[in-house]
Amino acid sequence: MIVRGLSLRQIVMPLVVLLCGTLVLYPIGFLINESLNVGDPSVFPPEEYGLDNYWNLIDDYHILANTALVACIATVLAVLFGFLQAWILTRTNIPGRQRLERLMELPYYMTPLIGALAWGVLLGPKTGLVNQVWRSLGLPGDLFNIYSPYGIAWVMALFEGTVAFVMISAAMKSMDPSLEESSRVLGAGKLRTALRITLPLVAPGVLSATIFVFAEMLGSFAAAFVLGIPGRFYVVTTAIWQATLSFPPDYGRAAAMGLSLFGVMLITLTLARLVLRHGSYATITGKAFRPREMDVGRMRWPLLGIAWGYIIVAVILPLAALLLTSFEKFATVILPQMKFTLANYETALQMGSVGPAFVNSLTLGISVATVGVPVIGVLAWIIYRSRMPGRGAAEYVIMFPQAVPRLVFGLGLLWAWINLPIPIYGTLWLLGLAYFTVFLPLGLRTIASVVLQVDPSLEECARVCGAPWIYQMRTVTLPLLRPGMVAAWLLIFIASVRELGVSIFLMGPNSKVIAPAIVNSWLSSSSELSAAMALIQTATVFAAVALMFSLARRVTGVTQ
C-alpha cells in the first residue's frame, strides 16, 4: 500500500507543479522577451535586445512612487478592515453574523471600475453627494476629495480588500477557541486576548492576506483609472494602459513596468517566508475542538455597530449610489437636474450579447473554481508540507501572475496561446485556462493560510497507520483544509466572474464575458447603462453564490 501510495504521490506531485509552473512561465517568457525588445516594436521576434526599457523606468520614478504610496495605504486599510471584520464575524457572538458575512463579500462581486464610479458619485469634489450634504450644512469647501491618492487607496481597500476578509476569516475559522478561552480564564481581557492570542495564531492568514492584497494593490487598475486620471495622478497600471493601447503600442515599456513589480513581490514574499519559518502556527492538532464564538457580553452591541457601520460605508452606500445612477436618464449628482427612467435596464437586458456573456462568466466561474481548488489544494500541500525539491521556487513562480498587472499578463497569455497549434483561441477553454493561471496565487494564498494551521502530526499519524498518500489527502488533509478551500472556491468563482484584464485580450466573438462588456459600456455608452449592468451582475452573482452554498449545505450538511 505504502509503496503504491508513494508512487502515486511521486507521479502527482511533479505533475501538478509542472502543469502550474508551465502555465505561468510560458506566457511570462513572451513578456520577458518583449520587455527586452529595443528595436522596431513591430518586428517579432525582436531583432535587437537590450535593457533600455528597464533603464527608462528611472524616468517614470514618480509613477513608481505613486504606485507604492497607494498600494501601501490600501494594503494597510484592507488588512485592518479585513482583520477587524473577520474577528467580529467569526470569533464573537454578535447577532446575524452569517448575513453580515455574505454582505461583506458584495463589493468583491462587482467590477471594481463600477465601484470606483459609485465612489465618484458619493465623494466627488464640488458635487459628490456627501460633499453636497456638507455644504448644505453651511460648511466650507469639500469634506472629501475622492480624486486623490487617499481616495484611490480607500476605494481599492474596499473593493479589493474583501480578499483579506475572506482569507483571514478562513484562518480564524480553523482556530481552536480553547486557546482564547485559556487566556480569558487566566485573566486577560478581550482586547488583550485578541491581540496576544488571536492575532499571533492567525498570523499566517494575516501575512498571506497582506502579501496577496499588497500584490493586488500594486497591480490594481480600476480605481486608479477612474479616480486617478481625472486627478492627474498616474500609477503603473494606468501608465501601462496608455502604453499598450496607444499607437504604436509600447509593449516593451509596458512589459518592463509590469515585470518590475515582480521584483517588489519577490522581496515581500521572501520576507514573509522568513517570518513564517521562525514560528509554529498549528492550531488544528490532534485535540478535538469545535469552532466556538467568544461571548463578548455587552460589547456585542458596539461590535455589531462597527460591523454594520463598515457594511453601510463599504457596501450599502456605493450600491445605493449605483442604484440611483442606474435609474437616471443621464448621470448627474445635482439633485434638481435628476430625471429617472427604466430604459437603462431595458437596454441592458435587450443587448444580445449580455445574456450569453453572463452565462459564459458564470460557467467559467463555477468550472475554474471547482477544478482549480483541489489542484491548488494539492499544490499548497506540496509547497508547505512536502519535501519535494524546488517547492520553494514553485511558490515564487506561482505568485508571478499576481505581481504582474493583469493587462500585461493578458498580453503575454494572448501571445503565448495564439502561437500554440492547439485550436482553443477564441473559445471558453482558453479563458478557463487563463483564469486558472492568473488565480493560482489567489487560491494558493487562501489555502496556504489554513495549511500552515494544520499540525503535521495528524498527517504523520495517518501515514503511521498505513494510509497511502492519496488516502491521507482525501480523509485527513483535505477535510481539515475545508474552510480554506471553501474560501478559495468562493474567491476564485467571484474573481473569475468579474475578471477584466485578461478577458479583454482573450475573449472572442463567441466567448464573450460580462466584465469587459460593462467596462466597454462605461467607456463608450453611458455611466447609467454601466451602473444598470453592474447591478444586474452583482445580483446574479449574489444569487448564484447563495444558491451554491444552499445546495452545498443540503448535500454535505456543512455550513461555511
Binding site: 466627488g124 492627474r232 493601447l245 504604436p248 443587448m351 466597454n520
Partner: protein, 353 residues
C-alpha cells in the same frame, strides 16, 4: 502580431497590383437600396459575419440588426474593444494565423494605414464606394473607407457657465479662467491627436502650450467628459464629441455645444474587410450595405455620428454637416509621423509625464 520584412515587401507588391485593378465589378447586382458585387447566395451560405469595432455595443448591435433583418440567414456577431486593444488583438491573431474577424473598424486612420501596410485588408471595391469622396478612401481604393465621421469641438454646462462667458472660439477655451475645470481626452485617443494636429496647423505650434497651465483633466472616453460636465465637476469639455452632445441633449442634460467659426474637428472611422475573413462573401455584402444610404442612415441614427456620404441626413437633432467647416488632416502620412511628438507633448499637458 508582427511581420517580417519579406512580408512587408509582398504587401507592397499586392498593393501595387491592387492599384491597377481597383475597380468595382462590371455588373453589380441591384438590391433593396444598394448595389453589390458579392455573391448573395454564397454569403447566405456562409451564414455568419463577425465585426470587430470600437463602437458602443448597444448602438452597434442595433445597426447590425438592420443588416440581419435584410439577410436573416446571416448571423451577426459583434466584438467591441477599445481601439488600441482591438488592434493588438487583430495583429496577434494575424501573427498566430488565427482569423476570426471579417470586418474591422479601427477608429483611427493611423491604425488603418498600418494595417494596410501589413497587408491586413482584403481589397474589395464596393460599388457603393463611388458615392464616397476619393480622399475618404484608402489609396489604392478598396482596402478601407471612411464609414463614419466623428465631429468634435467645445461643450459647456449652461447651469455653471453663462452664454456671455462661454467660449466661442478655440482660443477662448485656453482662457486661464477655465483652470482646473476643463477636460480633454488622453493621448491614446485618435480624435485628440487629430484635434492637436489640425489646431496646431491653424493657430501655430505654440497653441497648445496655453493649455498646460489650465491643468486639464484627461479622459479615455467622451462619456466621462460629458458625465463630469453635466454633474458640474468640469465646466468646459474640449474635444467634446458632437455624438456625445446629441445623445446627452436627447436625454435633456444641461449641455451646450459650441461651433467655433474656424471649424470643428472631424476624425474618420475607417472600415475594411480583413484579408483572411472567414466569411468573405458575407463581408463584401455587408460592406456594400453599410456604405449605402440605408446602412449609413442606420449608423448615423444609432451612433449619432455623421456619414461621409453627402446624401445621408445628419444624426437625430444634429445640424447639417454643410453648416460646419470641417477640420480634417489633409495629409494622413504627415499626420501619422507627428504621433510620437503628440504623445510626448500631450502626456506632459495632462500630467502623465
Amino acid at each position: 502580431m508582427r511581420r517580417r520584412p519579406f512580408a512587408a515587401l509582398s504587401a507592397i507588391l499586392v498593393a501595387l497590383l491592387g492599384a491597377v485593378a481597383a475597380v468595382a465589378c462590371d455588373n453589380p447586382r441591384q438590391m433593396d437600396g444598394f448595389k453589390t458585387c458579392a455573391d448573395v447566395a454564397k454569403a447566405e451560405q456562409e451564414g455568419a459575419l463577425v465585426v470587430y469595432s470600437t463602437d458602443p455595443e448597444a448602438a452597434a448591435e442595433a445597426e447590425l440588426a438592420k443588416f440581419h433583418a435584410v439577410f436573416p440567414k446571416i448571423r451577426m456577431n459583434y466584438l467591441r474593444i477599445q481601439a488600441g486593444g482591438l488592434y493588438a488583438k487583430l495583429l496577434a491573431e494575424r501573427q498566430g494565423n488565427v482569423y476570426l474577424a471579417d470586418i474591422a473598424q479601427l477608429s483611427d486612420v493611423s491604425f488603418a494605414l498600418d494595417f494596410q501596410k501589413r497587408g491586413g485588408y482584403m481589397q474589395y471595391v464596393s460599388p457603393e464606394m463611388a458615392a464616397h469622396k476619393t480622399e475618404y478612401k484608402s489609396s489604392p481604393e478598396g482596402y478601407w473607407t471612411w464609414g463614419a465621421l466623428v465631429v468634435a469641438a467645445i461643450a459647456y454646462n449652461p447651469t455653471l457657465v453663462s452664454a456671455d462667458e462661454a467660449p466661442r472660439t478655440w482660443r477662448d477655451a485656453m482662457d486661464p479662467k477655465w483652470t482646473d475645470t476643463i477636460s480633454v481626452k488622453v493621448s491614446i485617443s485618435g480624435l485628440q491627436h487629430v484635434t492637436w494636429y489640425v489646431l496646431r496647423q491653424l493657430y501655430g505650434n505654440d497653441f497648445w502650450s496655453k493649455l498646460a497651465p489650465l491643468k486639464p483633466h484627461a479622459f479615455d472616453s467622451y462619456v466621462q467628459q460629458f458625465d463630469r460636465l453635466v454633474s458640474g465637476q468640469d465646466k468646459v469639455a474640449l474635444t467634446a464629441q458632437y455624438s456625445g452632445y446629441l445623445a446627452m441633449k436627447a436625454k435633456g442634460a444641461p449641455v451646450v455645444f459650441v461651433y467655433p467659426p474656424d471649424g470643428v474637428v472631424a476624425a474618420p472611422q475607417p472600415w475594411g474587410i480583413v484579408k483572411e475573413a472567414p466569411h468573405p462573401e458575407a463581408a463584401r455584402l455587408f460592406m456594400d450595405w453599410f456604405l449605402s444610404v440605408p446602412g449609413q442612415s442606420g449608423n448615423v441614427r444609432e451612433l449619432f455620428t455623421y456619414s461621409p456620404r453627402p446624401d445621408v441626413p445628419p444624426p437625430p437633432g444634429g445640424a447639417s454637416v454643410t453648416e460646419f467647416k470641417l477640420l480634417i488632416p489633409n495629409d494622413w502620412q504627415a499626420f501619422e509621423r507627428t504621433h510620437a511628438q503628440f504623445v510626448r507633448e500631450w502626456d506632459k499637458i495632462t500630467g502623465l509625464r
